[in-house]
């Protein structure tokens, strides 16, 4: 009779153990879900904020950092949850510790499971456990069904994300001022290239970035572009979602600056990106654009085709150095301060829509040394007999620059600008 009572008591205790375990594990599961949710929304908020404010390179680095931190914290959270999770075999020990039962419950669960042996002190152990049932009720050991702190963290994460999304459009900076290096009267070298000003000018052939297509710097740039294309797409998408479809710079904002052979290069690109200048949509991008931009895009495509046709036509004309004037020792076509009428070579075709840069082929030879009209056509004079060529081994010989890589963002502007100057 006493044994039946004891076994009934043990079953009641086991039921309570299961209840406590269920409640604790559910609590823990919620905690993990809330914390991971908070982590996800926090990371998303950080990414959105960075996409709107950081440069492409900075955003790529930030994505890596945010991903690493998020992954690390998630691992810690999951590991902590695994540690807190109560498996069936450990439930009695956990309750024992939390309830201050000094091993009573754990001992009973291990010894009171049955068996032929009937230890003399076991009934007392059962009785002591029954007397302490109230000490470790499920609602006492796990007072709250919902982990409030974790829930608050999740809510805070969601609120932060919402705040960033809501305030995102306000972070859009004004379009930068575009300065053209072809206009006399201004000293472009003395002008500070900042986030709100972009200098556009023919590339200096001495600049490494101005190397011919197929050189190492271009290949490296392409590889880097491929690697970061996913991150760049993410950034573009975030910007597009929050700031809407990109708009092109109005021609009225293009200011004029004195002639300068050097372009701002990558610094200008970053400055433009940081300043919020949106790239003109590529032909493929235009195809997928919204209705609002269709007419505008069509106009740009028409302009581009017109420029390319003109360039092809010009290429068929005699080139610099080929014409009779140059052969006679006179100034070549395009020499002096007049634009070369054969400026355009064949366009780079589909590259404009698929790369971060596009190459506008130039039919004329642009030389590093801006000398007189005859310098471009005349072959370099042989070194003097007493000259020591080994003193300047790194000096580069003058070379023609048939192509000029330009950031994709400025494709429309540059095409339009050069088309205007070249056909004038």
């Amino acid at each position: 009779m006493a044994r039946t009572t004891a076994s009934g008591a043990v079953e009641a205790i086991q039921r309570q153990v299961r209840r406590v375990r269920r409640r604790q594990n559910l609590h823990e599961l919620q905690r993990v879900v809330y914390l991971l949710s908070a982590l996800g929304t926090g990371a998303a908020a950080a990414l959105v904020l960075l996409a709107l404010t950081a440069s492409p390179r900075g955003f790529a680095h930030a994505v890596a950092v945010v991903a690493a931190v998020t992954l690390g914290v998630a691992l810690v959270v999951v590991r902590d949850a695994r540690r807190r999770w109560i498996p069936g075999a450990a439930a009695a020990f956990w309750i024992d510790r939390r309830g201050g039962l000094t091993g009573r419950l754990a001992t009973l669960m291990e010894l009171g499971g049955g068996g032929d042996a009937n230890p003399p002190l076991l009934p007392l152990l059962v009785e002591q456990n029954v007397a302490r049932l109230a000490l470790w009720r499920a609602d006492r050991l796990v007072p709250r069904r919902v982990p409030r702190a974790a829930l608050a963290t999740a809510a805070a994460g969601a609120a932060l994300f919402g705040l960033v999304v809501a305030l995102g459009p306000r972070l859009r900076p004004p379009a930068p001022e575009v300065v053209d290096g072809e206009v006399p009267g201004l000293q472009l070298e003395r002008m500070e290239v900042t986030g709100d000003r972009v200098a556009v000018a023919p590339l200096d052939p001495d600049d490494d970035a101005a190397a011919a297509p197929g050189t190492d710097s271009d290949e490296r740039a392409d590889e880097r572009s491929d690697e970061q294309s996913a991150v760049a797409r993410l950034r573009e998408r975030i910007r597009r979602e929050l700031w809407g479809e990109p708009t092109r710079e109005s021609p009225s904002r293009v200011a004029r600056a004195p002639t300068r052979d050097a372009a701002a290069g990558d610094g200008a690109e970053d400055a433009a990106e940081e300043g919020g200048l949106e790239p003109a949509p590529s032909p493929t991008g235009r195809a997928s654009s919204g209705d609002d931009t269709r007419s505008d895009n069509g106009r740009v495509a028409t302009e581009t085709r017109s420029v390319e046709d003109d360039a092809r036509r010009l290429l068929e004309q005699p080139r610099d150095g080929d014409d009779e004037t140059a052969a006679a020792g006179g100034a070549a076509a395009g020499a002096g301060n007049q634009p070369d009428p054969h400026l355009f070579g064949p366009p780079s075709g589909g590259a404009a829509g698929t790369s971060q840069r596009f190459a506008l082929s130039l039919a004329t030879h642009i030389h590093a040394g801006r000398g007189g009209p005859g310098e471009g056509a005349a072959p370099p004079s042989p070194p003097a007999a007493e000259a020591r060529t080994d003193l300047a081994p790194g000096q580069r010989a003058e070379a023609a620059v048939p192509r000029m890589p330009v950031p994709l963002a400025y494709e429309a502007i540059v095409r339009r600008l050069f088309a205007h100057e070249g056909l004038e």
């Binding site: 000094t102 091993g103 009573r104 001992t107 010894l111 002190l121 152990l125 059962v126 002591q128």
Partner: protein, 331 residues
């Protein structure tokens, strides 16, 4: 045994233990922890090795314990010329009433409930070993005849740590037979004042027996039996086994300990823990009980290496490290 009877038995044990403690405390000032460990070993059925400088109450504690429990007590002062027969007893030729002479066994001092082996390390190993059989099997064999010792049988041996000249190191096998080793410290200043006051006055404190003389031995055996019935869950056994293993494999132990604890160390841990569980009113052993008795149960079972001596590390520190490591294994 139903729950109520078990609860009464545990309460009786607690009362008896507390009463004996109280009686001993009348004449022994301080040493509360040492007395608790000695009483724990007594009710666990083990023997105790006490280490302490002369004059701090070792003999007084043992004598008071015997008096409080109303058990027979004998004391042997171990010296270098002490022979085994001086402890176990010997056969002598005795002349009967009819004039016939025959060998008669005269029991030695080991035939007592409580035996104090004072300065046990002064006797030769041969004499020390005479106690082995008595301590382990509660019997002695003299001239081929075995004589059982009346239970309860409790040996308290003392060691003098400062006079090492002319002493014999206790063999490891004999050390292992002591359930606990107790270190008696110097009394504190207030305790010393109380000692002076209680031992130099006109009226000396005396111990009042807690148990009646005719039933004392059986009552003690009854209480010892109750100790054996205390529940030990498998997770506690696993914990004790891990603890014992760690005395050889733990990082510090593996560096400074040549030989770790024997399985007897595990037995001592569980038996001592059972007594502490009863004192706490529990019918089962908890891990905390094991940890409380661990220093006393393990410190004399570790054979330290030369490196330990060179590094100034003693068994106490190693046991503390082992306990810290073992706590991580607690379920």
């Amino acid at each position: 045994m139903n729950a109520a009877v078990a609860a009464d038995a545990i309460r009786d044990f607690q009362d008896t233990f507390a009463a004996v403690r109280r009686e001993i405390a009348k004449v022994v000032v301080g040493h509360e922890r040492a007395i608790e460990i000695i009483l724990t070993a007594f009710f666990a059925g083990g023997h105790v090795l006490i280490e302490g400088v002369p004059g701090i109450g070792k003999t007084l504690i043992v004598r008071s314990l015997a008096e409080a429990l109303n058990l027979s007590f004998s004391r042997v002062q171990f010296t270098v010329d002490l022979m085994p027969a001086d402890i176990t007893g010997t056969r002598i030729i005795s002349e009967g009433a009819d004039g016939r002479r025959e060998f008669v066994f005269v029991p030695g001092p080991v035939f007592a409930h409580v035996l104090l082996a004072d300065e046990i390390n002064r006797a030769t190993p041969k004499t020390q070993s005479a106690l082995l059989e008595a301590m382990a099997e509660q019997q002695v064999t003299v001239a081929g005849k075995t004589y059982p010792l009346a239970p309860p049988f409790f040996v308290l041996a003392t060691l003098n740590p400062i006079e090492m000249e002319g002493t014999y190191q206790l063999p490891e096998a004999q050390l292992d037979r002591f359930l606990f080793k107790v270190l008696l410290d110097y009394p504190t200043e207030p305790e010393l004042e109380r000692i002076l006051a209680t031992t130099t006055g006109a009226e000396l404190s005396t111990v009042t027996p807690v148990l009646p003389p005719e039933t004392a031995a059986s009552r003690v055996e009854q209480l010892k039996h109750l100790v054996r019935q205390v529940l030990v869950a498998p997770h506690i056994e696993r914990y004790v086994a891990a603890l014992v293993r760690l005395t050889a494999t733990e990082e510090t132990a593996s560096r400074y300990v040549t030989y770790g604890s024997s399985p007897r160390g595990g037995q001592a841990l569980i038996l001592g823990a059972k007594v502490l569980a009863l004192l706490d009113g529990r019918p089962h052993v908890a891990a905390e009980d094991v940890e409380r008795v661990a220093p006393a149960a393990l410190r004399h079972r570790l054979v330290l290496s030369f490196a330990a001596g060179a590094a100034g590390t003693d068994a106490e520190q190693i046991v503390a490290r082992v306990l810290a490591s073992a706590r991580r294994l607690r379920p």
